[in-house]
């Protein structure tokens, strides 16, 4: 059974790029365009890893992370933040919300796969 990864980003290009890379590497991918859609979709199926952008309309990455951690089903599921900011404060804030790790944008596909494999072996 291949693992299911949800990519949450308001940029279709970004979603497409990530999806393509992950599908190519053998994962199943679910896309959501913001945190609200991610929460709805994650209730309908089981997700093994979330990759989420931080700044999104409706529900942002931080709120999504807190929302997911509040669901017993995703209490321990890895959540990786896609962030343009490499400042420590932002990362710490993300960690405090329950994120597992982060990838700094822009990133190479190898970097993406390395992180995915690391948190979701």
């Amino acid at each position: 059974m291949s693992k299911t990864i949800m990519i949450v980003d308001d940029s279709p290009t970004m979603r497409q790029m990530v999806s393509f890379t992950l599908i190519d590497a053998g994962y199943s991918v679910v896309e959501a365009q913001d945190g609200a859609e991610a929460l709805t979709k994650s209730g309908a199926q089981s997700v093994d890893l979330f990759l989420t952008d931080l700044n999104m309309p409706n529900l942002d990455g931080m709120q999504l992370t807190r929302g997911l951690r509040a669901m017993p089903r995703y209490e321990f599921t890895p959540i990786v933040l896609l962030t343009t900011e490499s400042q420590k404060e932002r990362k710490m804030e993300g960690k405090a919300a329950g994120a597992t790790g982060w990838i700094v944008k822009p990133f190479q596909t190898e970097q993406l796969l390395a992180v995915v494999k690391k948190v979701c072996p």
């Binding site: 291949s2 590497a25 053998g26 951690r69 209490e75 321990f76 599921t77 890895p78 959540i79 710490m92 960690k95 329950g98 994120a99 597992t100 790790g101 982060w102 690391k118 948190v119 072996p121």
Partner: protein, 762 residues
């Protein structure tokens, strides 16, 4: 499963390539097979295997581009690689295969001079890495809340293990008493002694996401990294190849021992193994094994070239060489200090980590032996054991005969008794052995049953029907072979039950039945049989309609139809080409079905019985022997020939007075306990070229009431000779079409008797 096919394909392509090394189409075939193995391996998460397969793929990529000519050494290496891939997919702990893989990769790299083997996690190319190998002691104590950040600390420890040779110790002193323990907190810490060519920064990188809130110490340990006993050296790799080759050779030797004619395939495979082994020995600079192997190769090549049955002497020489080689390798293993090597302690499982009960102390150590508690065994070996155990059971039948002869013919009654006692003792042991061996092969029918709820649900959805499936007796055990072969017929029957049996909810409601239909699948033991029943409360079958259909299709004549009772009419469903479904759906109704079901079940010596009541539903009862190998039987004599009836088919044996047998036209009947049975005279039934000159019935007729496909019949025999244990040997392929016999068996005194197949002999 897919991988197994691919590997088999690879195997055959490689063997062809051996004789046509330049064949471009073949090269492409090999390349594609390896490429697909790699691709699907990576997809399925066998990344190590994929990385390994990549090296082989490279070789054939070069070859098909014409930049490289495949030699037999490369073929050997590839086959070796293929075997390793197979093992990686099979074994739970591929880590033990790493040295052998590395060996192959290194050898392959020699053929690809312009390509530098890509070092992966510092695993390949131990020669280059050895100089810079360093030892680090890593201490890692994650934050108690680590799980809530979606991090599995064990996977981080695994990442460390991937960097080099790691010895992992779990620290459990942080675990509080059970009462205070929060199962969602992490109380464990790990100490990892890591020998790796990777710099400290790489080790630090592992903890990138957790470094802020975890306690992490990475210290360089300056004690020098020891030599080959610490790090897997090429000698170990060679010894691994040696062990595998010896094991394979062992199998071939025993197969040759049993061979009565030239077994070319076996010799060739044997030769291939020896050559691979020899190549490895040469690389390792081990002249002694190489010389011994050369001798074996010479013998085998001679046999293959001569295309003759291997002489006992040649076989003896081969076996002798094998023994010497085994001893030699054994001593090398001892020198290497690898005799009792155990793989490094595995990290505690995620469960142990997230629920660190105090008992978890023993968990890491307990993991390793538990993984070894089951072993995979070649089915062929198991079958051999089965046969031997079975033959032992039959052979013991000689003891009572011997005892009898000693007593009666030689007047040594004391001796006779002793022989009989010894025989009884052996009997008991043989029975225990048989039971033990049989139990190995027994599998609960659950494995087959568990797919049905889904099947029923899917059909219901497609057809807008409602049905519930009740499963009973899922723990009933059957021989593995039987399980494998009963699956398809059962799928068919369950499908039929829903598709044809259960009516649409409205129709059911009109008929006063609950809207949801009920299909029951039940398995249970009865004597030495296993019974499987499929019962549905659907519409049932209409005998009249079956007759009409069969007539329309010209499967029966109108006279036959007229003479048929309902029960016989129901039997029509088993005729090839008959279907009563109003329309052909993709689920069923093509009329290739029930006949195949019955013949499949017959193949595993089972019988099928159908009962159906219009409007109330149908029930199919399958009776199967629980095991195929040894069975009890009743030995009978008819026309001076001996036959065996399988015990499970004989309902009862009786002696009836001649007066109770009545004749009706060409047939005989008898009444026994108010039931009428057709009588079949075994002597007549199997009488070849001897149209009976009306043999007179004896005063008292011994009869066996036997269960057949057409119901119970009474089989008249000349004499009952008693109960016997038989192993049924299938008939040679020339006689395979004869349905009347299951096969033949060898009696305790060496005579051969035919075993009757009650399902097929009328």
């Amino acid at each position: 499963m897919e991988a197994a096919d691919l590997l088999a394909e690879l195997d055959s392509a490689m063997l062809e390539l051996e004789s046509h090394p330049q064949d471009a189409a073949l090269l492409n075939r090999v390349f594609r097979a390896i490429h697909t193995v790699k691709g699907s391996g990576a997809t399925a998460g066998f990344t190590e295997m994929a990385a390994f397969a990549h090296h082989v793929e490279e070789l054939f990529d070069e070859a098909r581009m014409g930049r490289l000519t495949i030699t037999s050494v490369m073929i050997d290496l590839t086959l070796q690689a293929k075997d390793l891939i197979g093992q990686m997919l099979d074994s739970a702990g591929p880590a033990t295969l790493v040295p052998a893989c590395r060996e192959v990769v290194e050898s392959l790299a020699k053929f690809l001079p312009h390509k530098v083997p890509t070092p992966r996690d510092g695993k390949s190319g131990p020669g280059a890495a050895a100089q810079s190998r360093q030892r680090h002691n890593v201490y890692f104590k994650p934050h108690a809340q680590v799980f809530f950040s979606g991090t599995d600390p064990v996977s981080l420890v695994d990442e460390l293990r991937a960097l080099g040779k790691a010895t992992v110790t779990a620290r459990i002193d942080g675990i509080p008493p059970l009462a205070n323990l929060n199962p969602k907190h992490c109380y464990l810490a790990w100490e990892v002694a890591l020998v790796s060519a990777q710099p400290a920064s790489k080790i630090k990188e592992v903890f990138l996401f957790v470094e802020d809130e975890s306690e992490i110490r990475i210290e360089r340990d300056l004690t020098p990294v020891a030599g080959p006993t610490e790090v897997d050296g090429p000698l170990t790799a060679f010894l691994n190849i040696a062990a595998q080759s010896l094991q394979a050779a062992d199998g071939f030797l025993s197969r040759l021992r049993g061979a009565t004619e030239h077994d070319g395939a076996c010799c060739k495979n044997y030769l291939r193994i020896l050559k691979t082994f020899q190549a490895a020995a040469n690389r390792q600079g081990q002249p002694e094994p190489a010389a011994l192997l050369g001798e074996g190769i010479r013998l085998l090549e001679g046999t293959i070239a001569g295309n003759v049955t291997m002489s006992d002497q040649t076989r003896g020489n081969l076996a002798e060489g094998h023994r010497k080689l085994t001893a030699l390798i054994q001593s090398l293993r001892k020198d290497d200090g690898r005799d009792d090597e155990i793989s490094p302690l595995s990290a505690p499982s995620p469960i142990a980590a997230s629920q660190p009960l105090p008992a978890a102390e023993a968990a890491p150590q307990a993991d390793a032996p538990r993984a070894r508690a089951t072993i995979r065994v070649d089915q062929e070996k198991l079958d051999r054991l089965m046969r031997s155990a079975g033959e032992l059971l039959v052979a013991r039948n000689a003891f009572p005969l011997l005892a009898k002869r000693l007593t009666l013919e030689h007047g040594l009654s004391g001796m006779g008794k002793e022989v009989k006692d010894a025989g009884d003792h052996i009997s008991h042991i043989a029975e225990d052995l048989q039971a033990a061996v049989l139990s190995i092969r027994m599998t609960p029918i659950r494995t087959v049953f568990q797919r049905f709820p889904r099947l029923v649900r899917d059909i219901c959805r497609v057809q807008a029907k409602e049905a519930e499936l009740l499963l009973e007796g899922e723990d009933t055990e059957l021989d593995k072979t039987v399980i494998e072969q009963i699956a398809d017929p059962l799928v068919h029957l369950v499908r039929n039950a829903v598709d044809h049996g259960i009516e649409l909810p409205e129709a059911r409601a009109q008929a006063g039945k609950p809207r949801a239909g009920k299909v029951t699948l039940k398995a249970y033991n009865k004597a030495t049989n296993v019974i499987i029943e499929i019962h549905d409360d659907g519409g049932g079958m209409d005998p009249a309609r079956l007759k009409r259909k069969a007539l329309e299709k010209g499967l029966i004549t109108s006279e036959a139809a007229a003479a048929m009772d309902d029960r016989a009419a129901l039997e029509l469903i088993f005729l090839p080409g008959l279907t009563t479904a109003a329309k052909v759906t993709d689920i069923s109704g093509r009329g290739v079905g029930m006949d195949v079901v019955r013949s499949n079940i017959r193949q595993i010596h089972g019988t099928t019985k159908l009962e159906s009541k219009l409007g109330c539903g149908s029930k199919i009862t399958i009776t199967l022997p629980a095991s195929l190998m040894v069975s009890k039987g009743i030995l009978v004599e008819a026309n001076r020939e001996e036959y065996v009836f399988p015990m499970e088919s004989v309902v009862q044996t009786v002696r009836l007075p001649r007066s109770q047998i009545r004749r009706h036209e060409q047939s005989y009947f008898t009444t026994f306990r108010n039931e009428v049975f057709p009588v079949l005279r075994l002597a007549d039934h199997f009488a070849v070229n001897r149209r009976t000159v009306e043999i007179a019935w004896p005063e008292e007729v011994p009869m066996a009431i036997v269960e057949t496909n057409r119901g119970r019949i009474a089989v008249a025999v000349d004499r009952f000779l008693g109960h016997v244990e038989v192993i049924v040997k299938p008939m040679g392929s020339d006689f395979a079409g004869i349905a009347a016999f299951l096969g033949a068996t060898i009696m305790g005194d060496g005579r051969v008797a035919l075993v009757i197949n009650p399902a097929g002999f009328v």
